[in-house]
């Protein structure tokens, strides 16, 4: 599936954060987006993921506006951002099963176990997440985003808080996703830890997205 954002504008309290930002994600491609702090990367990511509405501009999935078919669009897009987007009072397994089932995944439990094992969290999968470390939360959050095997992935700073193994697992999962034809957007400060090949690189500056080396 192709996710396309065109001329996205967004302001918060009169401050323009995005001014006509555009980007396209194609199947089987990993796109890299960087930018200084406060440049609006997270806002842009959240608009693509449909969790935030743009003031102007369009986001389309295979040509169809995401806002016109929110349920289908949301099921096709997986998102992981700065917040865990999890219920800390539940266990990792409960969280993943809950979100997975709601997203229409019938074998959510099995997939959840596999993902958690892959991230080395087996022994913690039955413990409520209140006291999890940042790195543990991040791994569960990524599992949540990846579990339904969405056609599009929007990952904002996915490597934050991950150790070597965590980063390796993520890279493996990303490669798998890419070979499945998933379109992915990786937002990060640095490209260092990203192993799967990056198709295109961009930078978000002054509210617009420009190609970068």
């Amino acid at each position: 599936m192709t996710l396309a954002a065109r001329d996205i504008e967004k302001r918060f309290d009169r401050r323009a954060v995005l001014r006509k930002a555009s980007l396209e994600l194609h199947p089987g491609e990993i796109v890299f987006l960087s930018g200084p702090n406060g440049s609006g990367k997270t806002t842009f990511a959240r608009i693509l993921a449909t969790t935030l509405a743009a003031d102007a501009g369009t986001v389309t999935l295979d040509g169809r506006a995401v806002r016109s078919a929110l349920t289908e669009s949301r099921r096709a897009i997986g998102f992981a951002g700065h917040r865990p987007l999890l219920y800390l009072g539940l266990t990792p397994l409960e969280n993943l099963e809950f979100f997975g089932k709601l997203a229409g995944v019938s074998d959510a439990r099995a997939r959840a176990s596999r993902l958690l094992a892959g991230f080395g969290l087996e022994e913690f999968s039955g413990i409520p997440m209140e006291h999890f470390s940042r790195g543990m939360l991040q791994r569960v959050a990524l599992s949540r985003a990846l579990l339904p095997q969405p056609r599009v992935l929007i990952l904002d700073e996915p490597y934050a808080g991950l150790d070597e193994q965590g980063a390796d697992t993520l890279n493996t999962l990303l490669s798998e996703a890419r070979s499945r034809g998933t379109a992915a957007l990786l937002i990060s400060h640095t490209r260092e830890r990203i192993v799967p090949g990056i198709a295109r690189s961009y930078a978000l500056r002054n509210g617009v997205i420009e190609a970068s080396a």
């Binding site: 993921a49 449909t50 969790t51 935030l52 509405a53 929110l70 349920t71 289908e72 669009s73 949301r74 099921r75 897009i77 998102f79 951002g81 917040r83 865990p84 987007l85 999890l86 219920y87 800390l88 009072g89 539940l90 409960e94 809950f98 979100f99 089932k101 709601l102 997203a103 409520p128 939360l137 949540r144």
Partner: protein, 223 residues
């Protein structure tokens, strides 16, 4: 199915937060205590005073329960993730409202015997009817409360705003609950005040209808 899953999730979350539940129970008990003292020590119309005390305590404590349910969603973004699964908004609302209803019902089960004992009213005979009246009132409370809570999410003085909006709106429900309960306790029947049942049903239905219409709009509004 979505509604049931959301309900189960909410109940699980509440059940694991023993500290909050204990605080809520103690808070509502202290409300009953204060009101009993205010009316006492000699009760002129025990059925009425007991009924008013019970429902006042429930209404106030209920706001805390509603706010807590709200916070569980926004704390670490669980609610946002829920939205992003593409789950049907009204089903999510139904699940949440039912969870809120059950929490209120649990409070009622706790407070009813206290009110009955402190004011020396009530019999087992009328208990089923009293329970039906309570169900009517709490369904409306949960329906409107969940709606308003969603509106007020992310706002600083959530509990205050929720109270300001919820209490005046639910006055019909409150009057009905107090009158019907009192009537059952004092006279054993609701003949004289039967009409209030109709109003309560209307309030309940209106709340649910408004949620069906507007919950998605509220959910999609930026925090």
């Amino acid at each position: 199915m979505t509604a049931l899953r959301v309900l189960a999730k909410d109940l699980k979350l509440h059940a694991r937060d023993a500290r909050f539940l204990a605080t809520l129970a103690l808070f509502s008990l202290s409300l009953v205590l204060i009101l009993s003292v205010a009316f006492g020590p000699l009760f002129r119309d025990p059925a009425r005073e007991a009924s008013a005390t019970l429902w006042a305590a429930l209404f106030f404590a209920g706001v805390l329960g509603l706010t807590r349910a709200l916070d569980l969603e926004s704390e670490s973004g669980g609610g946002e993730a829920l939205r992003l699964t593409g789950a049907d908004p009204f089903s999510v609302y139904a699940g949440k409202a039912t969870a809120n209803f059950l929490l209120m019902a649990a409070l009622w089960v706790l407070l009813l015997p206290c009110a009955a004992v402190f004011f020396d009213v009530g019999t087992l005979e009328v208990l089923p009817e009293v329970a039906v009246v309570a169900a009517l009132a709490l369904i409306g409370y949960a329906a409107w409360g969940t709606l308003f809570a969603a509106l007020a999410r992310g706002l600083k003085a959530r509990e205050l705003l929720l109270s300001i909006l919820l209490f005046p709106t639910l006055i019909p429900l409150w009057i009905g609950a107090v009158k019907l309960t009192r009537s059952l306790w004092a006279e054993g029947s609701i003949d004289a005040v039967r009409d209030w049942v109709k109003i309560m049903v209307v309030v309940d239905v209106l709340g649910i209808a408004l949620a069906a219409w507007l919950y998605e709009t509220i959910q999609e509004a930026e925090e």
